[in-house]
Subunit: 159 residues, 2 copies
């Protein structure tokens, strides 16, 4: 039995994640200005996948548009109307809608909030080793090494 882990929590009560973005600057500041991530899965000791509840402010962006080579992702919209941007274009979402992003397709995605109201959504991603992340719109790439994403320029040079 865990000592400090809760049995259940109200997601809205969870404080924001200490470090809001692991990307290098200027991306970290750009992302952190428009959205707030709250870690949920780790609070219970989950290790195979992560779950966040994330609030996107009006005009905020959840992530740079990206695709994973090994890790699947899933999102479920709780409140608001985010726009999902993929290789195929823009899709307006609403509360109760969900989307999944299987690893290895190269289809890069992000959520943006183009409305004047907050968006609240759940995001799930697994932690399969050897993952790489591609960013078609930015000079960035990432590798998942020892459980952490390491970022470089597209040519491999460090930030």
């Amino acid at each position: 039995m865990s000592q400090r882990k809760p049995i259940a929590i109200l997601a809205a009560d969870v404080p924001p994640r200490a470090r809001q973005s692991y990307a290098p600057e200027p991306f970290a500041s750009l992302l952190s200005a428009g959205r707030i991530k709250h870690t949920l899965g780790d609070l219970f000791g989950l290790t195979n996948f992560g779950v966040n509840i994330t609030r996107i402010r009006p005009r905020g962006v959840t992530a740079l548009r990206h695709a994973h080579t090994k890790q699947d992702e899933f999102i479920y919209v709780i409140e608001g109307r985010p726009t999902l941007v993929t290789n195929e274009g823009r899709t307006q979402l609403a509360a109760g809608m969900c989307a999944g992003f299987p690893a290895g397709t190269g289809d890069a995605h992000q959520l943006v909030n183009e409305t004047d109201e907050d968006v609240l959504y759940l995001e799930v991603g697994d932690r399969t080793p050897g993952d790489e992340v591609t960013y078609p719109d930015d000079d960035l790439r990432a590798e998942f090494v020892d459980g952490v994403f390491r970022f470089t320029h597209k040519d491999g040079t460090p930030y």
Copy 2:
């Protein structure tokens, strides 16, 4: 790019899963009478973890109380007030609450609906190979073999 996979879906529009329970009788009928699972993650081609949206009718039960040895689980309550039953007892949940069940603790859990209104919740579980499931309250055990749970009596004899 996938051919038939949707970009996004309204979870409420997804038809119920064809096979509602993979457990042997009498457990399958008992479970299927009180809850309806709708597969979400597989619709997008996710393989590393599964996501369902599940409706629990009044007096329904989501699962026999169980614990996984290798696979983590996470739930998020969308509507209603389910009761989470674990080794530590009963915890009343409400919309916006979540709970996680890390693999390997032996803490067995289930959700039951002791109210007169439906419960709707999201459940996430990964698909780590070699998983075994223990059921402290029932003569049942399961092993995850080739992506499918195989059920036996506790002594290993088949149903």
